[in-house]
């Protein structure tokens, strides 16, 4: 009896060892596969843009806006990637390892994700060219493409340096958006304006993101350059209809107008360079007139 029991317990011990070994191998391989392809979900338009620019194959999902031509300069790259609407339900069901969000993303959603032990990286929308560079480097690091990130930043910096003015003249410029909103002394557009050698008239009045100005005020300011920032210009709205006002049109006749799309200058992508080039060209036009 004793011998049999001893043999049993030895067998048991051996079996347990085998099981433990198998399980260990199993879990180890699981970990390896998890490390191999991290599941990254983007829930913010700006992180979408950066992700699509740097490494679209690493993104599990992007927001629905990323595939919309009116919202996203890189909409073509988003065509094959499944979209999400930013709700906690959707994100959780994707089982992400990391979530890219904006710092304005709903607190509730972010808290819920963090409660589920999913790391969330909250990115601030860039408010300066330096901010653009920092964001690109950070997202590149997260996606594991640091070298590409560095190269992209270098290209952007070179492109902006090429547009820098040769002399000290600063024609007066003003950003005008649908609904009569302008851009103040803060924000990416203001930085772009300064970099290409224009002077943002509204920066003198407010150091913030901008405010509404009436048509009358705009006429009195009469800038040399009006930067018309358009967004969904084809869909009718009172805000867009304001840009058809006869007084505005007569002002436009006297100034150089450069039209840029809002999505191009919101997130800091190569599309921003095109907008900056257009602004620099406007500056040259003004200086040639004078």
């Amino acid at each position: 009896m004793n011998g049999k029991a001893e043999k049993h317990s030895k067998l048991h011990r051996f079996a347990r060892l085998i099981c433990f070994f198998c399980l260990a191998v199993f879990f180890f391989s699981l970990c390896q596969s998890a490390q191999a392809t991290p599941r990254i979900v983007s829930t913010n338009l700006c992180t979408d843009q950066l992700g699509l620019m740097l490494a679209p194959e690493k993104l599990l999902s992007v927001t629905w806006m990323a595939a919309d031509k009116e919202e996203s300069p890189l909409w073509e790259k988003a065509a094959k990637i499944p979209v999400n609407y930013g709700t906690a339900e959707e994100i959780l069901s994707l089982k992400p390892d990391l979530v890219l969000a904006g710092n304005y993303t709903t607190r509730f959603t972010v808290d819920l994700l963090q409660h589920q032990k999913i790391p969330v990286y909250e990115m601030r929308p860039p408010d300066s060219l330096k901010g653009v560079g920092d964001n690109i480097l950070k997202v590149a690091e997260i996606l594991g493409v640091e070298e590409k990130g560095r190269q992209t930043v270098l290209l952007l910096e070179k492109a902006m340096a090429d547009l820098a003015p040769q002399d000290g003249r600063r024609p007066k410029a003003l950003v005008y958006r649908a609904g009569g909103f302008t851009s103040g002394g803060a924000g990416l557009v203001d930085d772009l304006i300064a970099q290409v050698g224009l002077h943002n008239m509204m920066a003198d009045k407010s150091r913030d993101w901008g405010r509404y100005i009436s048509m009358e005020e705009l006429i009195y300011l009469h800038p040399d350059v009006i930067i018309l920032e358009t967004y969904r210009a084809h869909d009718p709205s009172l805000a867009n209809a304001l840009l058809e006002h006869p007084a505005f049109k007569s002002v436009l006749g006297r100034t150089v107008v450069v039209s840029i799309r809002s999505p191009d200058v919101t997130c800091g992508t190569p599309a921003m360079i095109e907008a900056a080039k257009a602004m620099a060209a406007a500056r040259n036009q003004v200086l040639q007139r004078k």
Binding site: E216, H222, D235, S237, L238, A247, S250
Partner: protein
């Protein structure tokens, strides 16, 4: 002066004195309007008058001032004048027709209906094909709301029923407008609901004046044509019939006239409330209760009230301009409360 008091012409009073009092009053209102019009054109923020710029040495500055005057200030002043007149007049006419001192386009839901019509044609691209479709949409909505009002309120509604019907229509119009705005393709639409619900004359152009003015003028003429009929109706339906006035014709004139003028107004400036309520009440102590006598002063008074409100929002708003409906509501809502309070005190009550 309770709410139940009938508005009948008192033939005992000497007519000539009444006529002369009315004439002086109207003349005074017209003078006030001229002053307000002048101020609307030339007065700018901070008490600054436009003259110095218009006579500026630099050609460019003078040209810009001229653009401000003709393309910005003039359309705004004209719209304030005409819309105020439409609202005041239709308020007086509705109060006469419905024999209800609380009737006015905003409260009975006409403005909401007009806003719904305008919103649907504007945001879904229908007005892009032809600009005229915008005021047509507003007028269709206004007429629809009025017809619905008469259908709901019945032949001879009492005060309570009418106001309830008006509230229901206004609520429905507002809800459907909000729904339409949320479905509109443009993301700006949902924010613009404030414009449609409160009204604004900011940054209006001569294009808006051209679209709305003909219909407002026609509407005003039609309502004015119902003047004698309203007098007769005040004596009672049967009396009016025996005097040769067709109640149906009078109703139709007021409905179509109000629909045209209020519909066109709302389509270019949003729904501005309380002008049609306050003004007829303010002029009644001077003019008396004869409906026909009250129409012209109500129109002039409405124009004066709206122009004053517009001056206030243009000159005294902090940064972003207040919507003009805020000013009229701040005046009108307490006034309404005062009317109700007075009615309760005098025991007439709302049945």
């Amino acid at each position: 002066m309770s709410l139940a008091e009938p508005m009948t012409p008192l033939s005992e009073k000497p007519r000539r004195r009444e006529d002369r009092k009315g004439l002086y009053f109207n003349a005074a209102l017209a003078c006030l309007l001229a002053i307000l019009f002048f101020l609307s054109l030339f007065l700018g923020r901070g008490g600054h008058f436009l003259f110095s710029e218009l006579n500026a040495v630099a050609q460019d500055d003078a040209k810009l001032a001229w653009i401000v005057l003709t393309d910005i200030r003039l359309p705004r002043a004209l719209l304030a004048l005409c819309i105020g007149a439409s609202l005041g007049l239709s308020g007086a006419a509705l109060q006469g027709l419905l024999r209800n001192p609380l009737a006015e386009p905003g409260l009975v839901g006409v403005s909401s209906g007009a806003a719904l019509g305008a919103v649907v044609v504007f945001y879904f691209g229908l007005a892009s094909t032809h600009a005229l479709i915008l005021p047509l949409g507003g007028m269709a909505g206004a007429a629809g709301a009025l017809l619905l009002l008469f259908a709901l309120a019945g032949r001879d509604p009492d005060v309570g029923t009418l106001i309830l019907a008006g509230v229901a229509i206004a609520a429905l119009g507002g809800a459907l407008s909000a729904l339409a705005l949320n479905f509109a393709p443009s993301p700006y639409a949902a924010l613009e609901i404030v414009f449609w619900m409160l009204g604004s004359l900011a940054d209006r152009s001569m294009e808006h004046v051209r679209l709305a003015l003909p219909f407002m003028a026609l509407g005003i003429v039609l309502v004015a044509a119902a003047a004698r009929g309203l007098d007769a109706l005040a004596l009672g339906e049967d009396t009016a019939q025996s005097l040769g006035f067709s109640q149906r014709r009078i109703k139709l004139l007021v409905i179509i006239g109000t629909g045209l003028s209020v519909g066109a107004s709302v389509s270019v400036a949003g729904a501005i409330s309380f002008v049609g309520l306050v003004v007829p009440h303010l002029i009644r102590p001077v003019i008396g209760h004869v409906p026909s006598r009250g129409l012209l002063p109500s129109a002039l008074g409405g124009a004066a009230m709206l122009m004053t409100a517009d001056l206030i929002v243009r000159l005294f708003s902090p940064t972003q301009e207040l919507k003009i409906g805020v000013v009229t509501a701040i005046v009108g809502a307490p006034f309404l409360i005062h009317l109700l309070h007075r009615a309760r005190k005098s025991g007439a009550g709302m049945s």
